[in-house]
Amino acid sequence: MSEQSRNAWITKDDPKLVSSKHKDNFEDILEDRRHNSDLRYCSRTRDVPSFRLNKKRTPQQVKEHVLKSDRVQYAVEQVCVETQLPRTEVLTQAASIVDEMAHNLRLGAVRGFAYFLMKVLKQLYQRIYVNEEGVEKVRSLIQDYPVLIMPTHRSYMDFLLMSYVFYHYDLPLPVIAAAMDFMGMKFFGWLLRNCGAFYIRRSFGEDSLYWAVFTEYVQTQICNGDTPIEFYVEGTRSRTSKSYTPKFGMLSAALEPYFKSQVSDIMVIPVSISYDRVLEESLYAYELLGVPKPKESTSGLLKARKILEEDFGNIHITFGEPVSIRKFSDGKVDRSMHSLAPRYIVSLTQEEQSLIRTLGYHMVLVHQHNMVISPWSMVAAVLMQSQQGVTVRSLVHEVDWVKRLASNLGAYIDWPVNESAEAIIRHSLALHPNIVSVGSDDVVTLLQVSPPVAHGRSAQQQQIQQFAVMQNAAQHIMLSLYRNQAIHVFLRPAMVSLAINSCKEEELSLDLLYQKYVFLENVLCRDFVFIPGNTRKDFEHTLATLAHIGVVVVEAGAVVVKKSTNKTTAFLSHMFEPFLLGYWLMCQFLLSSRMQVAAKPLARTQKTLTREMQVLAARLIQEETIRHFEILSLDMANNCLHALFHMGGISKEKRDGVTYMYPNVAKLSTITEQLGTYTAVPPLPAVSINLNTKTVTVNAKL
């Protein structure tokens, strides 16, 4: 009996042991590839599941179907009537649209590509973790339903990775809705097409023929369940590592077959891809600052070979809980509304459209929920708030604190249990040598980033480089990208915190708190994602969470302000200061120019506005009036304008097809004033800016 110890079945008696291949419910799919033959791997037979009701077709047959379809034929007829062009010509147009669009998914190409891709992935990344359970769900769903794969989009890598994962797990390769930019790349464009990319023009609002071909092309593949269809609900790569607000065009087109009862259900699978380090980090930083990114070209990619020598850490891919569109829309829509006209003519109902919008938002929030937060993201959050430099010791202390807060708020953090906090943080710092360095005094400082070599110097660029400040801005922006990876975790609690911190009274009634929360949601609704109509629920949930973790104290229907202003609320409020300050500055800028035309404020294009705002911001940073480099971001400025428009602070009008904006002074003044209560605003002289002469005139008298 005695030798039968309690631990007889344990081989390695080390509670801290962590398998490198398996972690929580993730599996590293590179591990085996590092030990086995790539060639054999890529040429092995794949036994892939397919949709039960699928009728096998070649990509060519799909194209033929599209041209013959009722929808396209109908559109052709319409165009003939409108343009008086002969039918054959319009048909040729349609055919060329299909040719431009269609993928040519072929296993041969995929195998070759997988071989090449795997080499690259092994070079770039340490591990690629995938939650197996999620993949297995996909495997069984694929047999029973048409499937939409909806990954986050933070990098070009997303698209390659997804195909690789599907290849790895013997799943049918998805076809991917890609933007036209790729198509221009000679070899690569061809290769991607053969690996399942199909190309969609960025905007084709009025082109009914294009619309018909696109819709039919997508829908026929869904109805027949040819392969999973992958697209990005955020529409485009997020340059900020924050989620973008969802776009609905592709989503509507893809779900329409359900609403028109061409299929009995469609499964939408959210996939969250989290990078320790994003390939395009510096490109993004410059893009946000307004340096145009180099046009994608094959040679450009090859030049990126230098990148291969760097370490990009781990990737986590989480396949989220599939959403059945039937169940999601149960009781909310009446599909029989489409019974009274041919299905290729009628459009979706209001209810369906709003349901699709809700789903879009929902998916983005699910994405966020399933993100794996890297320690580095929290390091970035702390560093953003301590720009003077901080010792590793106190960094460790702070990050550990943030980590606890984040996990209380529901974040999944990639924090190995078998490592010390310090080791984890040092590892993180080491992974980003281009952003931070640790000096001999163990103080962490930000590095300067050199701008990418530009093709021809535009006036714009010279303009920007006038200010030395832009040089420094880039690495701050880069840092903010990593803070952004986790910012959604803190968003709503921060809105409550900001509201509490802005209160000068002893108590803040919940009603007033909610009002403030609503204001903040309105202001932030472009930079962040909120489900429309969910404000009350969000608010209540957030308040309850904060109360439970002891951050906010509510007594007798009011927040006790003093007990609720603490390290946490301060930290959270600070995190969002750059945004509020940036918005406030934009408002001031818009208001300051009101004197320029007598009767009506001067209307300008969005582009002019954001550029001028940037010049002003740069000036204020240079003068150290404001310290947050993020306010230089054109993305933030654009989002601010959208939000202001949404709140009625500015109006738009079309002139010669171009949109001009001008402030609604009264409304905008109130917004500005309100914004000022949430954050310490610097004294600001009235200014006028002239982009042409690149001068900022500060009119101190006004």
Binding site: L53, D144, S261, Q262, V263, S264, D265, D334, R335, S336, H338, S339, P342, R343
Partner: protein
Amino acid sequence: MAEKENMSKGSDASTTMFCTSRGAASANGSVETKQCAESNGNKVILDTEPPTIPKRRQELLKWNGWGYKDSKFSLNKDGNVEFTGERYRLSGSVMPLLKDWMKSTVGISLDHKTPSQPEIPAANIPLPVKNDEFVAELRKTGIALSDDCQDRLFRSHGHTLHEIFTLREGMFERIPDLAAWPSCHNDVVKIVELAVKHNVVIIPFGGGTSVTSSLECPAWEKRMILSMDTSQMNHILWLDEKNLTVHVEGGIIGQDLERRLAERGFCTGHEPDSMEFSSLGGWVATRASGMKKNIYGNIEDLLVHVKFVTPRGVMEKSCQVPRMSAGPDIHHVIMGSEGTMGVVTEVTLKIRPLPPCKKYGSIVFPSFENGVNCLRDIAGQRCAPASIRLMDNEQFQFGSVLKPETKSLITSFLDGLKKFYVTKLKGFDPLKLAVATLLFEGTKEEVAALEKRVYEIAAQYGGIPGGADNGERGYMLTFVIAYLRDLAFDYYVVAESFETSVPWDRCLDLCQNVKERLHGECKDRGIQFPPYITCRVTQTYDTGACVYFYFGFNYRGIPNPVQVYEDIEGCARDEMLANGGSISHHHGVGKIRKQWLKKTVGDIGVGTMKAMKAYIDPQNIFANNNLMMGDHSKL
């Protein structure tokens, strides 16, 4: 009442007149009988045959299942399924493949039986509500009545799944309190008058084949309920060869009508699958559809004139014309009224000379999709034979296991086919192919020409002729499947059929989506065994088709199978409506589909129906709670 006597039509040279004495129906236990009280002086009666189904229906028919007592599927001593009796082509034959098919498709196990309760003892049958004054006055008319509990029980239901399940396992909360057998129009008028006078509920009963719970008594009804069994009103009153019409009492059942007309060389051509038992009045009341409607039309096309006894009086047109413009057609108020407004007592129908040539046929398609496209084309070219139906693969397989031999699916199908076709058919995937069954009627030449044309069109869709035998067996299947359900009931299976109509462009999607939905809902509800789901396109029109589904599952492990079944069928109906399908092509609304009526005809549509009901039947005498009637509707 507006008018009471409007029966006789002047005699015409070509009108066949057979004036005969009426045989008094056999006096029988508690059944009181008497001849039609009204004098038959100017009534012309074509025949004297008593109805095939006796007053005591339970003596001939199963009390808790479908059809004749002598005919049923049962396991013989060798453990094989056999069909008993002598009535049908299938009778007496053993189907060796059927048992295994049932095992493998729905997971039946012979060790797990769920036999029906042997009988419902009188003690469990609710006591009748009595309206003594009404009964007393009614007795004076001499109309046959019965308050025997088995007679009342038999008239308390149709053949909806939950009704039969209730008979096998439990008891209805409310059944009719009295059965009455009027023997002519005037008897009906009298009963209705007395019911109005004494505030008694009337539920007309035809053949009792309803599959919409339309015969069920509302449980909350406190008034006396009279089941008006029309079966004794089964006379052909006259036949007019010049106008090609026949005037018949509403209680005649399909088989009797067609048999007797055939003796005179005619037919109506109206053949619903339930024609052995369902009645003319029932067809009118439910807007029935017969399988040969392509030639003869549905009931609305066949109907020339109808007498309708309502609480306000008799509603009928004053002429018997092929068509007229006189405002909204009152026939369309009567047709589909489902017993909510009155009783159909006499009907003039179109008739046709019996076709000299009748020929079955079948076409095998590589897939259901090919078949549907072909049927659409045939319908579009308006060359559909008397009947054309397309069975999906599951139903084709089912048809094959009903064969009395053990050969494999495809070989048994190929028996007796031309060599040329056999080779071709061997190229089809037996798990994908679909079979259309055809029935041609006309002169020999017409049939030959039509056959040629149909097979030519079929060829364009990859369809190959599959022989007359296979076609005929397809039609037989629809007759026996109702019997088969009783066998399934014995082994933990609940099953039912339902149907819809749909425009052509949605037909395939509807079939597929409904099947998918059914499968999905079964899964979600934890049904452990694979459900049996199959469909066929049973009628074609220029603009669309009728699709008919069978759905059943093995409910072992499910405590409330009927509820689960109904929930799932409800989902399937939602799916049909979402797919552009209708609430029903021919079964009707009854009680089980009321929830979709408003969606189907709109608020104003329902309001209009309610207004008509309120005018015609202000006291709610016809209180069966079908169709547009609000639950717990006030008196």
